[in-house]
């Protein structure tokens, strides 16, 4: 059934208020159940054995001793996962990443797994598994991996996106090009051209909750999976395909989720846990250690990017190009492509070209991390934009305003923009009191913009009205950061009832139709849309019941302020019927009252942000302190402003960590050297100031309430904003993220030399 998704610019009474989240009490009392908090009778402990080598042939695995250890109930290797992928390369990559098949592709790659009666026995069993490796040459650096001399990760990979198709293997899995116009002609018109190369290191989403699941799979092929995930429906489909199960027979329940940021959109150990359970015929609980999370889940790409931008003296950009090399770990990805698409999305450019190269290395399979691939491209582009403004002698914000994309601009990745918020965020930055703060010695200010697509996707929602008039809303997107509150507000708004009357439940895979993974900032956008339609369907039923009670045609009934009202003079004697009253009578007027909706929520509306920050750099130690940080972002419509601000602040903090500290450090042996929170240092409370936010509301024309996705864009500008601020503070252009103290000291030294 088609629905009218257009923005209607209505007034709101509930939406936009700062109510308390309904799951708050559970979460402050320790009652909320996360991935590792569930148990089943007779459960076993699952553990995974991982490769210590970056690249090695597995010539032999002897599990006999482990199998004989009392208390061990199942041992698995790659052989226990027959290929059921039917030639689907993407599925095969997932399977091979879950358990190596003859070759270990990175330090941390799973090679075997056990299930035993307790952790102690499981750990002992792992030690008894004898794996014989033949080490192979490895490569972990993105620029090294492109060189012809680099060891080839997969001999079947031919660079896609190149005509004619290559005939020899390469570590470049894909080339993708975007843009329009004639960049050579554009550069010929430029008065000033700046060209610079940048590097960013690999970071991890760093959610505090490690991956955890409780898997039960019987010999009849039916099972249950309790798991911390952003997409239980997707997990169900993937696990079912990999293990040869019927989708309907595998019930997946998403636990409360302790952070995901993209990292919990992919399966890592869940198929292994299910297979262990099938073999042992007992429930298996598998919880990753922090070390495993770092070594063997999906961090983001490390990158190497060249940017060239030319402009006229009047500040108009005439041409821009970027070449972006992103590593995707040991399996092909599309991450450079997203980098190429987003790199120049903030600007209105006549001549633009960006080319992405997805590169294979011996590192873990890269996964999405909040606005995946955009922050690195923005770091390079926004740095060059700043340099160009300085060269021309123009204010960096004015320069951006002059070139900002607007409604009707042909985006650098192709389509033409509708109403967008980049201009207004920049205007807000220009007029923000933050920009007037006086800078002291060794201090610098930086500004940067960021873009992210956002998307909607398949969504299915149920709304049931109880006989007491309380409402249960069941959604299939996961509550990653307060979306239950936002969705309850929306339902209350549509029905005209109190927010407290609505209870939101995250449905498991057997209680709702398919819901796409909660990614791409889609949670509140798409489940919000489905909630609106489900509520409107329920209102239709409420009106029919009222009409039947009054014995008048339903056309004479309207729904206003939470009650049915009879229209027209002839009905003046009929007092309104509240939702509660109609619900109380429902058993006798036709049974339960419900509204249901399934929708493909397209048109999530692109989103833009501009950030500003002030830093102070200690010239002796190279340490950077963030003095002040401000986020301005377009939210379309903020359903619950607290949680919109929370998304802005959280993304900024992650970006600050990335910009200053966080990085995967690989040794020459190809092993990850800092797989723990001690050496992989994410920002702590004392590292940060309060993070100011300003929410702009430029309605998304494709959502009834004007909502845009808000979750991801906030991580895009920080690398560049801080890069610009540090560069301004030390007087040397920073080109390598993270800008850790040694890197800053070296840059200062090199700058003076």
């Amino acid at each position: 059934m088609p629905y009218e998704t257009d923005y209607t610019n209505q007034g709101f009474t509930k939406v936009g208020t700062r109510v308390n989240r309904p799951d708050g009490v559970d979460k402050v009392t320790g009652r909320a159940k996360y991935g590792a908090d569930a148990n089943a009778a007779g459960q076993l402990v699952g553990r995974v054995l991982r490769s210590p080598h970056a690249h090695a042939l597995i010539t032999k695995i002897d599990t006999s001793k482990a199998e004989k250890l009392p208390g061990v109930k199942a041992v698995l290797t790659g052989k226990d996962f027959p290929d059921l992928t039917g030639g689907n390369r993407g599925l095969m990559d997932i399977l091979e990443n879950c358990m190596a098949r003859g070759r270990a592709l990175y330090d941390g790659h799973a090679v075997a797994a056990v299930a035993a009666i307790d952790a102690d026995t499981a750990n002992k069993a792992l030690k008894l598994i004898k794996v014989t490796y033949k080490q192979l040459p490895h490569v972990t650096d993105v620029d090294e991996a492109i060189k012809p001399s680099a060891p080839i990760i997969h001999d079947w990979v031919r660079t896609a996106g190149v005509t004619p198709a290559p005939t020899t293997a390469s570590n470049v899995a894909q080339r993708s090009e975007f843009g329009h116009g004639d960049v050579d002609a554009g550069f010929a018109q430029a008065d000033v051209i700046i060209e610079k190369s940048f590097k960013t290191e690999q970071t991890h989403q760093g959610y505090i909750e490690p991956h955890a699941c409780l898997a039960t799979l019987g010999p009849d092929g039916s099972g249950e999976l309790w798991v911390t995930t952003q997409g239980h429906f997707t997990f169900r489909n993937v696990c079912a395909s990999l293990l040869g199960l019927e989708v309907a027979k595998l019930k997946v329940t998403s636990s409360e989720i302790g952070g995901g940021f993209g990292g919990k959109t992919h399966v890592w150990t869940e198929p292994v846990a299910l297979q262990l359970s099938r073999k042992a015929n007992r429930p298996v609980k598998l919880v990753m250690s922090r070390d495993e999370v770092f070594r063997a889940t999906g961090p983001t790409s490390s990158t190497s990017v060249d940017v060239k931008i030319g402009a006229k003296r009047n500040g108009k950009i005439t041409a821009a190009t970027a070449e972006l090399r992103y590593q995707s770990g040991a399996f092909p990805g599309m991450w450079a492509m997203f980098g190429a698409m987003t790199s120049f999305a903030c600007y209105d450019l006549k001549n633009v070209k960006s080319v992405g190269f997805d590169v294979l290395v011996n590192r873990p399979k890269v996964a999405a991390y909040r606005a995946p691939s955009a922050p690195m491209a923005a770091f390079a582009v926004e740095s060059v934009v700043d340099m160009l403004a300085a060269e021309i002698g123009m204010d960096a914000v004015d320069f951006r305003i002059k070139n900002a994309a607007k409604k009707g601009t042909k985006a650098s990745y192709g389509p033409v923009y509708g109403p967008i918020g980049i201009g207004p965020t920049l205007d807000a930055v220009k007029n923000h009191p933050h920009m007037k703060r006086k800078l002291g010695k060794n201090q610098g200010r930086g500004v940067a913009c960021g873009f992210w697509f956002n998307f909607g996707g398949q969504t299915c929602t149920d709304l049931n009205i109880g006989v007491d008039g309380s409402v249960n809303l069941t959604v299939g997107t996961v509550d990653v950061g307060g979306s239950r509150a936002s969705l309850a507000l929306i339902a209350a708004e549509e029905l005209g009832i109190d927010y407290e009357q609505v209870r939101v439940t995250i449905g498991d895979t057997n209680s709702l139709g398919h819901n796409d993974t909660t990614e791409g900032s889609r949670g509140t956008f798409s489940s919000g849309m489905a909630t609106i339609f489900a509520a409107r369907n329920a209102v239709e039923v409420l009106k029919q019941r009222a009409a039947a009670t009054w014995d008048i045609p339903v056309e004479q009934v309207v729904w206003e302020a939470g009650e049915a009202r009879a229209k027209g003079k002839q009905n003046n004697n009929l007092p309104p019927l509240s939702l509660k009253e109609i619900a109380a009578k429902s058993p006798r007027t036709g049974g339960p009252i419900a509204g249901h909706n399934e929708v493909v929520a397209d048109g999530a509306g692109v989103s833009f942000a501009s950030h500003m920050c002030d830093v102070e750099v200690d010239p002796e130690t190279g340490a950077t302190k963030i003095l002040r940080y401000t986020v301005v972002q377009d939210a379309g419509k903020a359903i619950h402003p607290d949680y919109v601000e929370g998304q802005f602040q959280g993304g900024a903090a992650q970006g600050i960590g990335w910009a200053l500290n966080e990085e995967y450090i690989y040794g020459d042996d190809g092993r990850l050297q800092n797989a723990g929170f001690l050496d992989y240092r994410i920002p702590v409370c004392s590292d940060l100031p309060f993070i100011d936010t300003q929410i702009l509301e430029i309605p998304n024309p494709n959502h009834p309430y004007g909502v845009r996705g808000v979750g991801e864009t906030s991580i895009v500008p920080p690398l560049a904003a801080i890069g610009n601020a540090v560069s301004n503070a030390v007087g040397v252009r920073m080109t390598h993220v993270p800008m850790s103290p040694p890197r800053i000291l070296k840059a200062i030294e090199d700058g003076q030399a």
């Binding site: 700062r18 308390n20 989240r21 799951d23 708050g24 009490v25 979460k27 402050v28 009392t29 320790g30 009652r31 909320a32 159940k33 996360y34 590792a36 908090d37 952790a119 102690d120 989403q205 760093g206 959610y207 505090i208 909750e209 490690p210 409360e256 989720i257 302790g258 952070g259 995901g260 940021f261 919880v287 250690s289 922090r290 990653v480 950061g481 307060g482 607290d642 949680y643 601000e645 929370g646 998304q647 602040q649 959280g650 900024a652 903090a653 992650q654 723990g676 929170f677 001690l678 994410i682 920002p683 702590v684 409370c685 004392s686 590292d687 940060l688 309060f690 993070i691």
Partner: protein, 163 residues
Amino acid sequence: MNGVTVSAKVNGDAVQYVCPADESLLDVLRNRLNLTGVKEGCGTGDCGACSITLDGRLVCACLVLGAEAEGREIGTVEGLSEGGKLHPLQEEFIEKAALQCGICTPGFLVAAKSLLERNPNPTEEEIRYALAGNLCRCTGYDKIVRAVQSAAKIMRRGKKAAR
């Protein structure tokens, strides 16, 4: 299993358990006493998700052995609310939207309570340093610090009123 028998008090209640000599108090609390409000983020003392009090002192449960708790008093997030009434910190964490995913929240609450017992009127900086052992990846700490400030204020007012 070479078990150690331990008697301790958890949130005021006497408990007894048997655990291997090398099992962490975190595992004991979560797996033997079912106090899953105590979270594990790292198991190495780096994230604070497992923050508890031991005889009133703030510690990481993952760095303490279950056997070490003999005769001692353990406080976890489950013991924060009294008589069905939330602690002001719990109230303010909800009110100020100081949690997103909530996995870090139990640790922050225990750590913040311990701070406010030592220092009822901390500055922003004191709060930030006192909570620097607790990692939160979702919030950027902004609303957490504000919630602690606001709870501290409410608790000071409460004390005054009680006097």
